[in-house]
Amino acid sequence: MTGNWGLMLSGLAAKELKVRYKRSLLGFTWFLLKPLFQTAVFAVVFTRIIRFGGSLRHYALFLFTGLLVWNFFSSSISAATTSLLDNVRLIRSIRFPRAALPASSVAANAVHLMLSLLVVEALLLAYGHYPPVSVVLLIPALALLLAMTTGLSLMVSVWNVYYRDVSLLLEVLLLAWFYASPVIYPLGQGMLPPSIEAALRFNPVSGFLEAVQSLLYFGRTPPTWSWISMVCWSAVLLAGGLAVFRRSEPAVVKEL
């Protein structure tokens, strides 16, 4: 019995979404409200207080676009970290592929990402940011993003079983990672010193942010470096995640 992956993932992801929005007044709209609030805060900070984003047209839309991608990434990872620990009894009483647990955290957040991308696209269109024909490239870009996030989720979920420090460390790490990612500032606009910008391109999420912002906000085809970054990081992290998970699964089940 290996189970049916589609069935399991959709079942677990649906559970995660249902549980998250049970008893909340605004329910599913929270998937939009959170990035909207974040956008408002950052927009005020970086245009009124620090006067940094003013040079970008509709800076708030730029922020919003990037935040969706970043939120998907960081929420998936955070949720996946504790996904094995949260389901100890389940893991220890029935047999199913445990990778479905971290993977379903990613799947649940992917649902949010897709829905909110539709909303942001509507806003972008309303403000005159028209996508290029190459917007279809969004599909492979998002597929790669899913792959990379899943790979990383598999890794952290296992590590967190061994060391509970991982989830705590990750909280801090994600904060630093956020500022090291082109969410609140764009790359390639001459806003950062070239040496720093070159270094930031090695950030695994930079390529994805660059690609999504290029296609949706700037209305241009993503630069080559972003594709290289996306393909490499997603291949490395997905393969790494699967390998780590497969190797540790039998031991992790006993360790829990």
């Binding site: 079942g11 677990l12 479905a100």
Partner: protein
Amino acid sequence: MRSAPGSIVFEDVSLDYRIFHDRTVTLMDTLLNLFGRRTRTERLRALDGASFEVSPGESVALVGPNGAGKSTTLKLLAGIFEPSEGRVSVDGRVASLLDLGVGFHPELTGAENLYLNGALLGLDRASMRDLIPGIAEFAELERFLDTPVKYYSSGMFMRLGFSMATACDPDILLVDEVLAVGDASFQKKCYDRIYGFKGTGRTIVFVSHDAEAVLRLCERAVWLDRGRVLKDGPAAEVLSAYLSDASSRHVPAGVSPREWGTREVEFVRVMLLDGSDAPASTFRPGAPITVRADLRTRFPSGVDGLVFGFSICRPDGEQIVGVNNLELNQPLISFRDTARVDLKISLDALEPGSYLLGLALTDPVAGKDYHWQDWFYPILLLGERMEPPVRLREAFWTVRSSSS
């Protein structure tokens, strides 16, 4: 090797756990380890080269003290653990009643939980839709399927878990003492369903401390101790060997045997005998228990007026019977050097099961406790299946009034 659905092969299986003496292992410990300080982790061998086979349609009980590896064996059979060494092969669809209803999320309704559980077990929505009415009916929860399970009582929760676990028509059923839950009538229903499985030739592997249940359900038992198979054979034989074994005195969770006293008078050897004077630890209804005790005293002048008491306790240590020869107006015991005393106990086992027999030698006049053996000898009292279940005692017809 060819195998049919329902067969199990457990070949030379070992499984190690890592145990931590300080349960919280942090990144810091590992970093410190790199510099030579060892965290005190230890390997615990839960199974140590255990082998047995089960043919399709067999009902096998796993018996043994706590920590013998019974639950680990079930988890290996369920595919939850992988063996560290050896081979486990299980053919056919397995339903595991290891922990009921654990996949249920409190915020989701009964039906939502069933669909999710089904998905994890590989059942799609359509097949679940067909199964749900039967599951709900068996669990007697038809009216509550749209209620979040957090509002369920623990009994309802377990009922839903049990019905779900057994709904998918398994070839092999793994049962781990979960049936001690729920009200008596549902427990009976669960047992009936399990007997039903047995009747249709399904394989059952059963772990229980309830010897009575083991004997009713299984023909065969495998006695595990410290990860090894000590004995494998007919259930009654294995059970009584297990129960009379000294090292398995810690029968169920709860009390452990203890011995105390001045030992000025002491038990040298104690044997439990059945009605036909054969050593036994399993007693049929109505059969007397004979405790044959060899006593010795260190008093040069011997003992005069020794009180010999016994107790029968539940596995959790609760005393049910506790008397001695003084209280029952029987002769006190006097001897020099050594003596052999037969204590014959006749019991009505109203609640069959396993109990712990304790013995004591005292001298209440001198206020001395010579030798106490509390919770020392495990005994299994078998019950009688009452047939017919209701017996007519008397009936009277009386005409109170009549008009002529």
